[in-house]
C-alpha cells in the first residue's frame, strides 16, 4: 500500500517519489497546478504551455496566470478555439521533441480532439515502434458542482481509460495535483490530466448548502514551492478504515469522507489518482482487508469506470467479498442545470450505499 497523500507522510518510499523540496506554502489547487507548470517551464526548456485563453489572460480558471509574462509568448501562448488543433499541434511538437502541456478549457470540449488523442497521441509510439512519441499532457477541468449545465460539468474519464496507450490521471487535492502534474509532464507517454474543477478552490464534500471550505484551511493545501513528484499509476489510501473499501477519485474522495463521518462507517477510502494504468495491487489489498467494496464516481453509470473497477474486484476478490459490489454514480442523463444536486452523487447517496453494504450479509 502506498503512502497517504498528506504531505507530512508523503516522505516517499525509495523509487516512488522525489524528495520534497524545502519550503511549502498554502495553495489552492489552481495555484498548485500553476506552480507545477512554473517549475517545469523553469527546469525544462522543452516544456511549452498553450490553449484557449491561457496566454495573456492566464486561463478562464487562472491556472496559467503570470506564466506568459514570466516565460514569454513562444513558450506560453493562446490557441485558436480548436481542440483538435491544439492536441494535433501538440502531437507534432511532441514528435519534434518538446513536452507540450495543453489545456482543453472544459473536459466537455475535448470531443473534437478525440481523433488526435485516440488515434494519434495514444498510438504513435506503438505504430512507429518507438520511432516517434508524443510526450504530451492534456489538462482539462472536469466534473460538476458549479452550475455549469451539461456542457461544463462532464466527467469523461471512461472515454480515456478505454484507450490503450494513454494515462488518465485525476488528483483530489493541491498536493497531489502539483506532484502528479509534474510527473505527467515528465512522463514519456501521453497523459490526460483531469482536474475536478469543484476542488479548485477547496475540499468540497458534497454539502453544497454549507459554507465553502478553503484549501488554506486544509492540510492538503500545504504544497512545496519547488519540484517534487507524486508517482503515476499509484493509488493512495486517503482514509484508512476497516469496515469497507470505497474506490473513488477526484471530487468524490471528499464526498466519501463526509459520508463515512456521517454514517459512522469506518470506510477505507482509496483515492485512485491514476485511473489507468490502475494500481490494482492497492485496490485488491484494501478490498481483501475489508471484504466490502463500493465504487463511487460522478460520471454517468453505464460503462463508466466504476464498471471496470467492479469487474476487477469481482475477478480478484470474489471469495473475499461479503456483499456485492455497489456503484454510486451520476445518473445516466446529461448533467442538468437546475437539478444539479439531484444528479450529483452526494454524501447522502454514498452514505446510504455504505449502510446497505454494512447491513447486508
Amino acid at each position: 500500500m502506498n503512502a497517504p497523500t498528506q504531505p507530512a507522510q508523503v516522505a516517499p518510499a525509495a523509487g516512488e517519489a522525489s524528495p520534497v523540496a524545502a519550503g511549502s506554502r498554502r495553495m489552492t489547487m489552481i495555484q498548485a497546478l500553476r506552480s507545477a507548470m512554473d517549475v517545469m517551464l523553469e527546469r525544462d526548456p522543452d516544456v511549452v504551455v498553450f490553449g484557449q485563453d491561457v496566454g495573456y489572460f492566464g486561463g478562464v480558471f487562472r491556472c496559467t496566470e503570470g506564466l506568459q509574462a514570466k516565460y514569454g509568448t513562444s513558450r506560453v501562448f493562446d490557441a485558436p478555439i480548436s481542440e483538435g488543433g491544439i492536441v494535433g499541434a501538440a502531437v507534432g511538437m511532441g514528435a519534434y521533441g518538446l513536452r507540450p502541456v495543453v489545456e482543453i478549457q472544459f473536459a466537455d470540449y475535448f470531443y473534437p480532439a478525440s481523433d488526435q488523442i485516440v488515434s494519434e497521441a495514444a498510438r504513435l509510439r506503438y505504430r512507429s515502434a518507438g520511432d516517434f512519441t508524443a510526450p504530451i499532457t492534456v489538462r482539462m477541468p472536469c466534473g460538476g458542482g458549479i452550475y455549469g449545465g451539461q456542457t461544463h460539468s462532464q466527467s469523461p474519464e471512461a472515454l480515456f481509460t478505454h484507450v490503450c496507450g494513454i494515462r488518465t490521471v485525476i488528483p483530489s487535492n493541491p498536493y497531489d495535483a502539483k506532484g502528479l502534474l509534474i510527473a505527467s509532464i515528465e512522463n514519456d507517454d501521453p497523459v490526460i490530466f483531469l482536474e475536478p474543477k469543484r476542488l479548485y478552490n477547496g475540499p468540497f464534500d458534497g454539502h453544497h448548502d454549507r459554507p465553502i471550505v478553503a484549501w488554506s484551511k486544509h492540510p492538503l493545501g500545504e504544497v512545496p514551492e519547488g519540484h517534487y513528484t507524486v508517482p503515476l499509476d499509484r493509488a493512495a489510501v486517503f482514509r484508512p478504515g476497516s469496515d469497507l473499501t470505497v474506490l473513488t477519485y477526484g471530487t468524490m474522495v471528499f464526498v466519501a469522507e463526509a459520508a463515512a463521518q456521517e454514517t459512522g462507517v469506518d470506510a477505507e477510502i482509496v483515492d485512485l489518482r491514476t485511473l489507468w494504468p490502475l494500481d490494482l495491487d492497492a485496490v485488491v489489498a484494501s478490498v481483501k482487508k475489508t471484504g466490502r467494496c463500493i465504487v463511487v464516481h460522478e460520471a454517468t453509470r453505464t460503462s463508466g469506470f466504476g464498471a471496470e473497477l467492479a469487474a476487477l474486484v469481482q475477478e480478484h476478490c470474489f471469495y473475499d467479498l461479503e456483499v456485492p459490489v455497489e456503484r454510486v454514480t451520476g445518473w445516466d442523463t446529461p448533467y442538468p442545470h437546475s437539478l444539479e444536486w439531484a444528479y450529483f452523487p452526494g454524501p447522502d447517496r454514498v452514505g446510504a450505499a455504505m449502510r446497505r453494504a454494512m447491513e447486508a450479509a
Binding site: G85, D115, S128, D189
Partner: protein
Amino acid sequence: MSQHEPLRLHVPEPTGRPGCQTDFSYLRLSPAGEVRRPPLNAAPADTTDLAYTLVRVLDDEGRAVGPWNPQAEPGLLRRGMRAMLKTRVFDARMLIAQRQKKISFYMQCLGEEAIATAHALALDAGDMSFPTYRQQGLLLARDDVSMVDMMCQLMSNGGDPLKGRQLPVMYSLKRAGFFSISGNLATQFIQAVGWAMASAIKGDTRIASGWIGDGATAEADFHTALTFAHVYRAPVILNVVNNQWAISTFQAIAGGESTTFAARGVGCGIASLRVDGNDFLAVLAASRWAAERARSNLGPTLIEWLTYRAAAHSTSDDPSKYRPADDWSHFPLGDPVARLKRHLISIGAWSDEEHAATQKELEAEVAAAQKEAERHGTLIDGHTPPLATMFEDVYKEMPPHLHDQLRQASA
C-alpha cells in the same frame, strides 16, 4: 404561397463515368511559362491569382519555359528521373507481390511520382515530412533509405522496423525525415504544423512539410492546420495532392467544384500556389520557393499539386467501376516520367537507350532487394513477429495489466 421553385440539392458529378470520356476542361489549365513568379516575400493576398491559375514549366515540346524554370543542373534532373523510375518500378514489383499474396495490401503512386520525388530534392537534411500513404517517393528519392527495410515493412516480417504493427505502406523513418503514417486521414496535417511551430519555438532552422489528398481536405484537421499555420506563421509547406479521386469519390465532392484547393490557403491568409504536379521542374521550383519562404520566417505556403491517380486507390479497389478505364491516357497533364524524359533528351542529358538501361538496372535492384527482404519471411510464410511485440510500445514501460495479458496470450 411561395413564389419560388422547389429547392434542389446539388450533388456534384464527374464529367466522365465508365463508358463515357471525361471532359477535363474543368481543370482550367494555364499554358506553360505563363504564370508569374512572385518575389519570395510576397504577401499571401498577393498570391491570389496563383491559386486559380497553374504554374507550369515544361511545355508540350518538353522545353523549360517561363519564370518558374528552376534552372536545375542536368545532374539533379537525371537524379530526379532515376527517383521517379525507381518509384514506378518499386510500385509495379510490390503490386505483383501483393497479387502473389506475399503482402496483404499495396498502394501505388502511379502518375504522381514527380510530386514526392521532386519535393524531396527541395528539402534539406533534418526537415520533416508528414506524408500520406502515397508519398513513397519521398523515401525512394533518397539514397540513404533501404528498399529492403521498406519491403520488410510491406511484408510485416521479422525485418520490419515497425514490428508488423502497421498496414503495408504505413512507413515511419525519423532519420529520413519521414513521419509515421496514420490511416486516419488528415491528422498529420496539423501535426506537421505543430512540428514546424516547435522548430520555430526552439529557434531551429528546420522546416516541416505536411501532405494531404484532395478528399481529406474536407476533414476538420485540414482547416485547423491552415488556421494554426497562419496564426503562428509556421515554417511549413502544406501540400495538397489533388489527384482527382478519393477512392471512388470525385474531387468535386471534397469541394473542388468551381474553385481550387489552393484557394483555401489564400482565404486563410496563406501564400498559395496551384502547380502542375506532373511537371518535375514545376514541382521542384514551387517546392524550393515554399521551402525558402518557410526557412526565411516568411511563413507557410499551401501548394495544390494537380495530378491524376493513374492506378487504383489500393489493391482493394477497382476504379473501372466508377471512372473511364482509359481516363489517364486523356489526362491533359500527361505522364510525369514521359514529360521529364522528353525534356532531358531535348537538352541532351538523357537518351532512350539510357532510359531503357536505367529501367533495367532499377528492376534488377528492386528484384534483389525483394529477394533479400523475403529472407526475413513473407505473409504467405506465416512469418510473424514474436507475440510479445504485440504488447510492447503501448507504453514506454509495459504496465502490469499488459504483462498479465501477455502471460494469458502466451498460455
